[in-house]
């Protein structure tokens, strides 16, 4: 069986890394980004041309409006046999809309949000949450396995988006809680050394604690994942039916909004600690 080719639309922090992995594996048919990167491997002039050139189109852009824009652009190129793999973080409502648009053209749609930041992407350790028909999951497995260490078939497209939002809810609430706990002990005069030594023996220590420890200790907030993106995700979570009034979700979203307003939009979301004075 001839292997499928893939096009990547969105060459940001993650999409760019993935596209290079695909290129190395010899399956990249095209790449496009809103801000032109003509030197990028397999760069093509428009998203539509990418969609024509590839069997599978993977989209990884900022938010639902950006996804909508891409799907409108590639729509003329979609037809039976094409597969759209949507990896941006969106909400169930957006996913339903985009799936309908793609299927109306005769193509197939797989929701494929992921977790893992840039280092994970570079080490081919992204984790995908796949939402769609079993045979569609199987169809893209060879491609996605080139860039990830695990691919979970979550259920349908809406369920995959929901699981991704739930994970980010968990992550952002942990970040704010850690920031409050650290600020509390700092105010009492306890050193960061003592705090992080103690938390590593505590049941609340997670991978996030270890990941953000250097940033919190140094007060260095270059973005691994930015305030503005997490704020966007938390707004999507709050729009998800049945989750409109979750207390910690509301609170963390408000904190991210304060951070955004205070000028920290492009900093890492660990910058939430700066609001605590």
């Amino acid at each position: 069986m001839k292997s499928q080719s893939i096009g990547v639309i969105g060459l940001g922090i993650i999409g760019g890394v993935w596209a290079r992995h695909y290129h190395e594996a010899g399956v990249l048919a095209g790449a496009w980004n809103r801000t032109a990167k003509p030197d990028f491997p397999k760069w093509l002039p428009t998203a539509e041309v990418v969609a024509r050139a590839a069997d599978v189109v993977q989209i990884v852009v900022a938010d639902p409006p950006a996804v909508r824009g891409i799907i409108e652009q590639i729509s003329p190129a979609l037809a039976q046999g094409k597969i759209v793999v949507q990896s941006s973080t969106i909400d169930p409502a957006g996913s339903s809309e985009f799936k309908s648009l793609v299927e109306a053209r005769g193509a197939r749609y797989l929701e494929a949000p992921f977790t893992g930041s840039k280092p994970a992407a570079e080490q081919k350790k992204s984790v995908f949450y796949l939402g769609g028909a079993e045979e569609l999951v199987r169809a893209v497995e060879p491609l996605l396995s080139l860039i990830s260490e695990a691919r979970y078939h979550i259920g349908d497209n809406r369920q995959a988006t929901t699981l991704k939002l739930a994970m980010n809810l968990n992550i952002s609430a942990q970040m704010q809680a850690l920031a409050e706990a650290l600020t509390m002990v700092r105010r009492s005069g306890v050193s960061d050394d003592v705090f992080f030594t103690a938390i590593k023996k505590n049941v609340s220590c997670s991978g996030l604690t270890l990941l953000k420890e250097p940033k919190l200790r140094a007060g260095e907030f270059s973005p691994q994942f930015s305030v503005k993106h997490m704020l966007k995700d938390m707004r999507l979570a709050s729009r998800t039916q049945g989750c409109e009034d979750f207390p910690v979700l509301d609170t963390v979203r408000e904190c991210l909004w304060h951070a955004d307003q205070a000028g920290y939009a492009d900093e890492d979301f660990a910058a939430l600690i700066k609001l605590l004075g």
Copy 2:
């Protein structure tokens, strides 16, 4: 050098386990509990008699008023040479007060809150946060090492209480966030199997996630740590100077209060999930 003897006041879930460990090690001089347990090893009729019988008195009761009550009762027995080790979760203001009361009698006061639940206590794996003078920490080290796997010298008495409250803030916020995330995916029809499989590959997975997974999956909320105790701790945290207006702390405290009002006071604080409908 002759080894010191210890008395334990408060024979609840943790205090009872510790006292038996001390007894097995041959250092228990007395034990007392508000609700009489006359069959307990080295049971003595009053807290004061325990304090007379032992070199070191360890207090592990419910809250600051209970500690105050105990210290008033044992006060006549306190004198130079006696050491009070205070292991209940209290706040810095309470700690200052109790330290003054003890030192006014010529005795010494070590703040010694701990982390770790009943199974940890049984396996002698409690972790102590010690707050007091270096030589006092050294003086109780032989005794505390009989029941714990780590003893961190945090700083002074107020600092030790603050670190303990900060850890519980972190834990309770993680619990509420996990409850919201799980409810979110359940509402979309995703199974608990899928959720917990996915979270174990996620940066937000902590010891707490694994500890509470069985309770959340089974909807079984027998207490490892109760709603009412966590609510008490979060109120103490909110009274700590400089932490009065922490957003996630406020929110989690309100959730615990709702749970308390809804009749879940004596259930495990994982019962927070029941408020999400």
Copy 3:
């Protein structure tokens, strides 16, 4: 100039009162309600028939999905010359959608949310917030003046919905604040007589204070405006662009949701006080 006729769709607490006023004034051309009320003056078998029979169709139903359903039903009857007056509480996004649907049929659309409860409606003292073209406002003025004491031209259709949501935000937050203040003084043993005497001399006393005083004193929560409707409105407010992260809005919405979950959905939103224990 021949006076216009009007049809009313939605004969609930307010719509029913308005329709009778129109009928008394001799301008009612038809009335319809999802739950049949065949004895109602000018009852007609379908919403579409009402829209055919009347120059102006006024819609006053529960929420955006209900409005959408009505507009789909009456769509075949809409044509040049017809005016749709939309008086349900909806959000700006819904208003844009409904205006487009109506105008696509050649008819005109006026957003006309109102304030004032049942007694106000009965006394023809409703207040309308009108959103649409100046000439359209003038066109419906003779009809709306039959049932209201004031009609403010707010601006466009989206603006009228926003102002209505903002007023309800203000009202629901005042209710929760009043409930907390009253509970606080009750817990200290102060009588309701003393509290309400004092608040009437206070700068915070509003019409709402006086309106809800009897309910709060008696613990009687038959609905003037129900928890579920206010919750719906606050969710719409939170979905309004630029208002996603307003702190008191979030908090009051969560309180209404707790009340809904606790079984108070159909009680007056003054029942918020019951959550305070």
Copy 4:
């Protein structure tokens, strides 16, 4: 019967106005302020000297620690026959403590918080909430009636403080709600004229709405009542037993804290609107 003399301790915005009213009425025996105001009528060098010179001592300072400081200073001058009228905003716990201290000296203690801002004070329209024995209330009535338009006997000293805190809770929550509602309509492009015209016909319009309208319209936040004082009061409210977990109280307190941290501590609490962007 000879009329009583009064001393005023605390010559801030309100205390200074009252003292001048007392002086005009010929009953002022002494006045003192932490920051010296030697030109003030009846200025005396210490608080203690004021307490010696007057039958009744009225205290109106910033917060419980300031009251504690004053009571310690005047303690030697307190004796049978002296009355302390405490008009600062404090909490029930503080009130119990101060009452004990005063009565231990043989003097009597009346809790007398008030409402009404500077203009009200100038027009002798302050309103007092009196907490203490009936005969004590009667004893100070002639003096307090010189500076106020109403004096309500609320109950005991703790109850009077609670009612005051409850009123300020109501006021600050209304302010935040009004700020959110106004921001919401401003964002939709509706003018302040339209908003305030509409709200004046709305059930949510209170004296506070009218009082703060000019500040909100002009974006002018010179203090009638400052952010820092309202924050202090809301922290006292949250420490009041049974009110630790009130949702709108928590939220408004957090907003005031954000405002304080953003540099608005000395501005009017209407400056809360500046946090909404």
